[in-house]
Symmetry: D2
């Protein structure tokens, strides 16, 4: 399969969407990103790497960080972790308080904000230095020690993070989180602020693509556990567009409001794409299109 040519062809085909949507602008650090960027990197499990355009430009990974966090949590707590966070699709917008209140403080899955805040709390309870451990885990996955938090982004997000603070307080009210609310929120926002390039993300997600021998920085998962995390990504990774992504792309994946999307084709390849302009659901317009065309052209999907 000539992935390089496919990536380049896809880019030509999605150019008409280059000005559709707009980037996240709820904090200055995201608003000032040049929206007219695009990068993509596909990496096979054998190590062949295909990259195009701004594949080496780092961006805010935002919600993609939730995959790393739940992997650490599952490694630390095993199946116990599902007592505090579910694994069902949410069926509503990613930040809905309604479902959380009705379901008595147990978030539907680890990829909605409420669920990711619970996972952050669990990591804080389990680890002496959760911030250092998280960063070390991500750096190990992508084999790059310069990957780091962006404190300006994290602090800005906390300042504007009223909705997430509402969620954290509601979780505390229901007894789902144990640690100080401010500490949990700050750790949550720091994880989201990590900056990586498409190339680094594609490498980092190799760990989920090749489900055997998952053992990074001391965090190990069985083959079955990795496959099951992929299953949760498939059903829950795109908030209330999970069905649409599954329908159009046919791969497990996770998006972030910074415009990044990662997807994996188990035992074959991982792919990361980035473009800041978002659709109404908060997912990258060009990123979604690129992945849809990728599985259409290659006729490769999990279905």
């Amino acid at each position: 399969m000539d992935y390089q040519k496919i990536l380049e062809d896809i880019y030509q085909e999605i150019l008409p969407y280059a000005k559709v949507g707009k980037q996240a602008d709820y904090i200055p650090a995201l608003a000032k990103v040049d929206p007219d960027q695009f990068g993509i990197c596909l990496r096979t499990v054998d190590g062949d790497t295909y990259a195009f355009r701004q594949a080496d430009t780092r961006f805010s990974i935002q919600s993609i960080s939730k995959v790393f966090a739940i992997a650490m949590g599952l490694s630390l707590k095993g199946e116990q972790i599902w007592k505090k966070v579910g694994k069902e699709p949410s069926g509503t917008a990613f930040n809905s308080l309604v479902q959380l209140e009705i379901e008595k403080g147990i978030p539907r899955n680890p990829f909605i904000n409420a669920g990711a805040i619970v996972v952050a709390d669990i990591l804080m309870s389990e680890l002496d230095d959760p911030e250092a451990e998280f960063l070390n885990f991500v750096r190990t996955l992508c084999k790059d020690d310069t990957v780091d938090y962006n404190m300006e982004v994290a602090v800005s997000e906390r300042e504007k993070g009223y909705l997430n603070a509402a969620i954290a307080n509601l979780l505390k009210y229901h007894g789902t989180i144990e640690n100080d609310i401010e500490d949990v929120l700050m750790f949550y926002f720091k994880m989201r602020s990590v900056e990586m390039s498409c190339r680094e993300l594609a490498l980092a997600f190799r760990a989920f693509t090749c489900h055997k021998d998952f053992n990074y920085a001391g965090y190990a998962l069985t083959s079955s556990q990795v496959k099951r995390l992929n299953a949760v990504m498939q059903t829950c990774g795109f908030y209330d567009e999970a069905g649409e992504f599954s329908y159009l792309v046919g791969l497990p994946g996770k998006s972030g409001v910074g415009g990044g999307i990662v997807a994996i084709y188990p035992m074959k390849y991982s792919v990361a794409v980035w473009s800041p302009r978002l659709n109404s659901k908060g997912n990258s317009v060009m990123g979604m299109k690129a992945l849809e065309l990728l599985t259409t052209y290659t006729e490769e999907s999990i279905f």
Copy 2:
């Protein structure tokens, strides 16, 4: 892979669950079924068939019929069909009126009752004799002309079907369905009343397993369309247990309140399992366990 031995081993392992749960008893025809039955049949795309225990006993396929109906609908209407029914997981119980009212009469997906009623209405609008066409389609899929509706079941379901009648009226109020409410409900319940064995279902689902050359009784789908239907099954096929099934089994599938479950491993095999005792979500207890063990033992899943 010695599937026969695996099926037999699985059966031994799930025997402790043989008396867990109870069968659907909301209508006499289902209540009188002997709950202590179990059948399973796995069929590879190459035609090798592995069956065990009551694999040839017919049972009420119930919601499994929704897969056949949406396949016909997609063949007839193409992507247009998604204007009247979504493809997002519902995140709530399969018969919830709440979501339907909030979302102005467009059901979340074709596998919740509201969505299946909309699909029934579409088939009625498109076809001269929808009942004959549906039956012919199913018979062609499983290559057996004796498969038929069970009118006793269909009539009983209509008599007790107040909730589905509420849904149909709400759909009519929102203008989502076109035909007479009673006619649509009766066709919907007839489709659910079809009786098939595990062996017949495993064969029928070969069409979805092998996504090429889908063309049965005049209903054709492209390879991409079949894969996309499988994606919808994956995210929406198990109501509010879709995430759990995806997590534990890792295959697209569909369950019915008659105790049947079908699942497919794309381009590899289809499998049907049946046991009438249900869990609290309305899915077969032994069926769920059997499929979980199947993908665990074979280490084969889509993830």
Copy 3:
């Protein structure tokens, strides 16, 4: 108090609203009513009557009928009736299925459609000829034997009544109603179709204004029961505009989609106003304004 002059002054003041809003048009019989009509009649407990403009034109009383029905139900069943229907304000639109589903089939109060359908069912279970009894009760209240059902309206409403049919089916599913769904709906729509003039309604509501000696056509209520019904009217009579009506008018009252509104000032007067053009909540624009000005000018309200 010169009520006649006040009514006439009010009419002048609300004339600027004469073309605001539009009448109910979901059935032909209501759509064809001349929207530019206005009538008002105030009747003191001493029998003094003040009328203005089309106070003798009959119109469809619609939801105002719910007051008569719950009065009969309370007389027949006593406090037992509150087991099947609540007496709390609904906080949502009058036809919401959401609350009904969440609250397991017990409607919030007898003035939302679901609650009135339950009351209709109770009357059917208690009475040999509920239609004749209801009509006789209303005729006795307003001392006019020519008041009658409008079958054209009732039949049209049933034909378009998908939402109410959805509600009735949901109530049946939850076991809240006992009788045949079609029979209950038809009786419900017949009660709504009764036609009365403002003068007749003002007289009929004298029974609620003067809470002593409530005994009409065999239906008796204690003074305390009448006052309590008035309390329910106050908190629940205007759907999700109950607070607004209470705030602006300060009297218990009940509106109908035909454009009629009745209100009572306990032990002082009853008043009925009618004008077909409705606001977005389904209440008469000029009727609401007229009653607001009435209690403002007279400085008489229950608060």
Copy 4:
């Protein structure tokens, strides 16, 4: 009317309920109150005062403070205040986040917690020293300068106030509140912590009973405004038991989780009752019973 004898008779009749329910115990300061206390005080507009048992024992007025706050807010902002807070009954529990989210951050009324937090925010924006002003207003109403905040209660409430903090954050997210969240919450909890006796509350609510000449500590309301506030109390003062209170008692009123309830009979009397044991809705068991019997025995209510 021999109110003194009536109050004493009522007490005898409600004694069987003396051990029913339990006091609020979510903070130590409330948990340590002796639950077996009861006080009542009725004060006519002419100044006749009837008191019984612990009518002079001060207790935490809690949500009763919301009436004082909205009176100040209405005096300062006039009808403008209803742009930020509604006046419709909520139909759900007093602390529901669901409705707030669905209705985009505009609380249903000033007596649910969300609404009272908005009113607190408005007072902070309008006043230089809102804490001093609020206290001065209350002291003026009850003519007692020793009435004060209980800082122990306020601080404890803030420490456990996760749900209210969730609400405040959600309000901030929707832009409904302007001031610092912590400041608003602390002011809100301080207002709730005020301690008053039944005698003091009965006197303070004379201002609402006698709607003319409302002008206290610089906060003036027209007669119409007072009556309208009473209307809001009637429809919204008892959360999801507003209909029940209106039905059983038939007077506008407001309860607090400290066990106090005040009610007014416009132009006749105000009454305050206190007993710490609460029913499942958070209202005083003996207090509710006492007021129900009061209007039953006197046959006086607004209906």
